[in-house]
């Protein structure tokens, strides 16, 4: 199999990689770039644990071929905050106890991020739709929805 050269931006940094032609974006993020914040759950697009942003849209990185990412900008959970600080969405997840085991959390955070980047004041219904592709077996979602609402307020500057 011939390796495929791919140029992409990952968390703001330009990256040039030779990837296996059949590697998923998830594999390349975790194995080649050591960005293990992105989790593999089901591997078939049902659970959303592997959610990352591609050009600002949330996608399942288990259903994306890395070789097709030429010229794309990818953001993972590692890329949303700088230094040791937390992104307001992460802070809101903590404040609202919107996680227990935490396996789904990076994916949920990225789906909420995709929503709030487009819609700074989403309705409850819009939040539910935005996280409808992310399974969480601990929280029952209520805390996640409240965290998303709180994060939206914080990001609008209404503490």
């Amino acid at each position: 199999m011939e390796l495929v050269k791919v140029h992409m931006t990952v968390n703001g940094e330009p990256v040039e990689l030779d990837v296996k032609p059949y590697a998923r974006l998830l594999d390349v993020l975790r194995e080649d770039l050591a960005l293990t914040g992105t989790k593999e759950g089901c591997g078939v697009g049902e659970c959303g644990a592997c959610t990352v942003l591609v050009d600002g849209e949330n996608v399942n990185s288990c259903l994306v071929l890395a070789s097709s990412m030429e010229g794309k900008s990818i953001v993972t959970v590692e890329g949303i905050s700088s230094d040791e600080s937390l992104h307001p969405i992460q802070q809101a997840f903590l404040d609202h106890h919107a996680l227990q085991c935490g396996f789904c959390t990076p994916g949920l955070v990225m789906s909420v991020k995709a929503l709030l980047d487009k819609d700074p004041a989403p309705s409850r219904e819009a939040i539910k739709t935005a996280i409808s592709g992310n399974l969480c077996r601990c929280t029952g979602y209520q805390q996640v929805i409240e965290a998303a609402e709180d994060a939206a307020r914080a990001m609008r500057g209404e503490e």
Binding site: P21, Y22, E46, L63, L65
Partner: protein
């Protein structure tokens, strides 16, 4: 694990030429939301797969526009793009609604309408809508372009009318801005569910309330998605009332049984498709009191 090489053609011509050269060993790919699941499940469909041919970056396959009353939807249009398209909101709201009901936001952001059609799933959401819109697919092969009516696109579950070296460029259909349209879907849960059944309806009534155009396409009901011609014949030229809507809804269920026989699922599907069609007609028509 299935392993394959990756090819990124610079044009549709180059893609077709590569497919021609590697018959049965290449798969054109778009969003990969079905393909990578099939690969993971080691689908027999891909046992001879050697190459994937990535169409996702070809600019001539993208975009939604309307010209002289004809709507053109590029094959690489994602379900999200269709869901949020102002052109579709005006000219084919049922296609936007069907695309909004596919998978999850993550799936809709990657999966394309062209990919969904080429994958020929019998449970596709956009497929019956395109049939109800009387859409044509514009396809290109090594010998040029041709159109395939969407009603002829699915030969059998998993098999399209496309030759192995043909690629879908896009879909076109007349605007239905002046008609009433309905898309109803029954799934097992709200997100990520594959349609158990769905109904697409495009209908128009004249000034007297008489139905002068109707296209009714139930999904997951016939072996391949198709219009329910018997119910349409009942409705055309009539002023709808509760009794006519009941008859038409029953006619869809009867046609299902006539065409697919009584199967293990019939006991469930018969009353459910009747109710879905009745609901679609009640929503989509002005009913005489």
């Amino acid at each position: 694990m299935l392993r394959y090489d990756y090819v990124r053609p610079a044009s549709v011509e180059e893609a077709c030429a590569f497919l021609l050269k590697t018959p049965g060993r290449s798969c054109p790919i778009a969003g990969c939301t079905d393909f990578l699941v099939q690969v993971r499940e080691k689908s027999a469909r891909w046992k001879d797969l050697q190459y994937v041919v990535d169409l996702s970056a070809l600019p001539e396959l993208s975009g939604i526009r309307v010209e002289d009353g004809i709507v053109h939807v590029g094959a690489m249009t994602t379900h999200s793009a269709a869901e949020h398209s102002p052109v579709l909101a005006e000219h084919a709201p049922l296609l936007a609604a069907a695309c909004a009901s596919v998978g999850s936001p993550q799936i809709r952001n990657r999966g394309t309408i062209g990919g969904a059609v080429a994958n020929a799933s019998p449970a596709s959401d956009p497929m019956p809508v395109l049939i109800a819109l009387e859409a044509n697919a514009l396809v290109q092969g090594p010998n040029g372009q041709r159109t395939i009516p969407m009603s002829d696109m699915i030969v059998k579950p998993g098999k399209t009318a496309l030759a192995p070296d043909e690629i879908i460029l896009g879909f076109s259909f007349p605007s239905v801005a002046h008609m009433r349209t309905v898309f109803l879907k029954l799934g097992r849960r709200k997100a990520l569910s594959i349609s158990r059944m769905n109904v697409s309806l495009v209908v128009h009534q004249d000034a007297e309330g008489v139905i002068d155009h109707v296209a009714l396409a139930p999904g997951c009901v016939f072996a391949a998605p198709d219009r329910a011609r018997k119910a349409e014949a009942l409705l055309l030229g009539r002023r709808p009332d509760a009794a006519l809507i009941d008859d038409a809804a029953k006619a869809v269920a009867d046609e299902m049984i006539e065409r697919t026989g009584v199967r293990w699922s019939t006991e469930y599907k018969q009353p459910v498709i009747t109710a879905l069609v009745r609901r679609a007609l009640e929503n989509g028509t002005e009913v005489a009191e």
